[in-house]
Point group: C2
Chain length 150, copies 2
DNA sequence: CTTGTTGCAAATATTTTGCACCCAT
DNA sequence: ATGGGTGCAAAATATTTGCAACAAG
């Protein structure tokens, strides 16, 4: 179980909830999960975990850099594995499907915009909200019905 | 009072809370206000309004296109007057100051990215989080202490 | 008048915290 | 064994809703 080692390396005891949550993110076909999603999934797998623990672990993992916390338009945070490079998100408003993308020109221009205003850029979040208007949304149901129009 | 007319035009009765909330956004030196901000401000002006009413009115105004609802990283929504063209946000993590910007190249590339993936773009939100690292943050205190690093 | 609107209180939703017990090291 | 970690329940925060009183047209 390589994850046990990963966890210890970052100074966290390899407890059952932590290992299982990390595994969940690694194995889930759905990349973006809310605390509630994680909680329900673990319960469904027969692990009797507390929602509070899920929140605590997710926050610890975020601080440790294992996960990233994202907000989109839904009012609840979702988390994704921080295993790839920085990227932005394209979110389907119909089915909640999320695709990731990187555009170097957009990245460059953001740095430039901040610099022009003498701001030191720390982070940014860009989400494009759209419809993946295929006759039948190819990715029906994903995480939580994203609503709103922004 | 031109606002009374504006409100009626969009099918809303010109009630005191509505008129005052709209005025507040028009006159406030702070462009981005949360429901709580609006509520406190009105109370301070001596208007005995309910927080629930503030939430209802803000939502109505958003649906009517008078306001825009934004999320940033704080967990609570802020609203801004929808009087200008679309723009993105540069948010100081230290003092919460918000500057707006538009970059046509970024806009174009977003449309292109969505199109390449056969998505119909509906909206997007781009926030750059930064420090306006001036010896004394020039815009101390604005809306609500934005935290996090996202 | 009549219907939409408000204020209040209670309900929801999301996330955090206090605390006694438990388990990884 | 021991200190960090957990589950539960309660608290905190943000927002929504039911309802009787009220006010704009």
């Amino acid at each position: 179980m390589p994850n046990s080692q990963n966890l210890k390396t970052i100074g966290l005891k390899a407890t059952t909830p932590r290992v299982r949550i990390l595994e969940l993110f690694e194995k889930s076909p759905v990349r973006h999960l809310s605390a509630e999603d994680v909680y329900r999934q673990l319960m469904q797998e027969g692990l009797d975990v507390g929602l509070a623990t899920v929140y605590r672990v997710l926050t610890q993992f975020e601080q440790a850099g294992l996960l990233q916390r994202l907000h989109f338009e839904s009012g609840k945070a979702v988390f994704e594995l921080n295993d790839t490079h920085h990227h932005d998100h394209l979110v389907c408003l119909q089915c909640g499907h999320v695709e990731e993308f990187v555009d170097e020109e957009i990245e460059r221009r953001q740095v430039k915009i901040a610099a022009e205003r003498q701001f030191t850029i720390r982070a940014h979040s860009l989400a494009i909200y759209a419809d993946c208007r295929n006759p039948a949304c190819p990715h029906r149901r994903e995480v939580g019905g994203n609503t709103g129009s922004g």
